[in-house]
Symmetry: C2
Subunit: 195 residues, 2 copies
DNA sequence: AGACGATAAGACACAAACCGTCTCAGTGTC
DNA sequence: GACACTGAGACGGTTTGTGTCTTATCGTCT
């Protein structure tokens, strides 16, 4: 997981993740994390001034960065805008479903975790999605259009991940493509018409 | 797991078990258990005077009873003393390996759990083993001999469960039989000679 | 109806755990 | 030697948990 030589901050964040899975979000203490990361409590407060909240916040940011880094890497060879977007949604859905940490969090602290995926966390998720994916989309779309489509697709991906539908499986490429195509042509041509 | 109509004590013990798995032995509070079992905290203290320790103790006892009840049921058709003992060891090993709760406890609170399987808990385990299995063994052996052989087999079973050996698999009937037969004939005939 | 036992709810005092901040001493680096 | 970083741990304040107790509310039995 985290070798002793690794960056101290990385070690602490890894330990935080492990402790969350083991004790649950409500039950972790800074001391648990200090022991698990082999770092003194004082050091944690020095690294993350503000304590637990800041620490968890930093973990969430790191997870998001990791998530989108992997995602970008998985869709880099796309040949068209439709292809890019469909593959992104599919890959994101698969990543979400394969995320053990997220699964544990959803099971053990549904309230807080859901909030991070819906109410509170969504603006940031969309910010990250844009930061990582807009550069790819802007090969085909202007800045504003790229932002808009990433925004809506992010929301759809989250919704269908949290509450799967009988009629679509966004983790399946053909199903996702069939489902998204109308939306995409609508969104993409609409812009072309109105401009 | 535990239907609302079930005996209140059963509900509380079930909830204790669930909470242990979820939060870990160190992190459970009586309040957690009260909420999980749909019972007020006062009632728990009334049912288990002495609090948390007594409650956990009661859970361990129930688990042991359950374990040996299943075990006895699994070996009831034995045709000889060797058969009975080998099958008991094999069944016990398989039960231990299949026990999810035990696995979680061993992973999350190794110290306390191991102590219950070695230092502190062994006398009781052997007491229970005798209470449940001696009646079966005494079809073939006198009281003292039955106690002695159950004692040593219980210890062997625990040891090989905790630290599996490359040369024997007590969860496998043929392997276990080959391994145990010398012991058993030794123990059983030794008694016959010296008496 | 009235008596009874069991329960939920919650107040209470005490103890323990946790938090966040701080100091200080040790360690390695420039 | 100056410097930055760290571990250890003390601190005051707050929260959380414990175990006991009281009160009100049930359902049950007679």
């Amino acid at each position: 997981m985290s070798v002793p030589e690794a960056n101290a901050e990385t070690r602490v964040l890894d330990a935080t993740k492990r402790c969350c899975e083991r004790f649950g979000l409500e039950k972790v203490t800074v001391d648990d994390i200090a022991v698990a990361s082999g770092v003194s409590r004082a050091t944690i407060y020095r690294m993350f001034p503000g304590g637990k909240d800041v620490l968890f916040e930093a973990l969430r940011v790191r997870e998001l960065e990791e998530f989108f880094a992997i995602l970008r890497q998985r869709v880099e060879g796309a040949t068209s805008i439709e292809d890019l977007l469909v593959r992104t949604v599919v890959a994101a859905t698969q990543e979400l479903r394969a995320d053990d940490h997220l699964a544990v969090m959803l099971a053990s602290a549904p309230g807080e975790t859901l909030s991070q995926l819906t109410v509170d966390g969504v603006p940031r998720i969309i910010r990250f999605a844009n930061a990582f994916l807009a550069p790819l989309a802007e090969a085909y779309l202007d800045h504003e259009r790229a932002r808009a489509v990433i925004d809506v697709l992010a929301r759809l991906t989250i919704s269908y991940f949290l509450a799967p539908s009988d009629t679509v499986d966004l983790g399946d490429e053909t199903s996702a493509r069939a489902f998204l195509d109308p939306f995409l042509t609508a969104i993409l041509t609409e812009g072309a018409i109105s401009s």
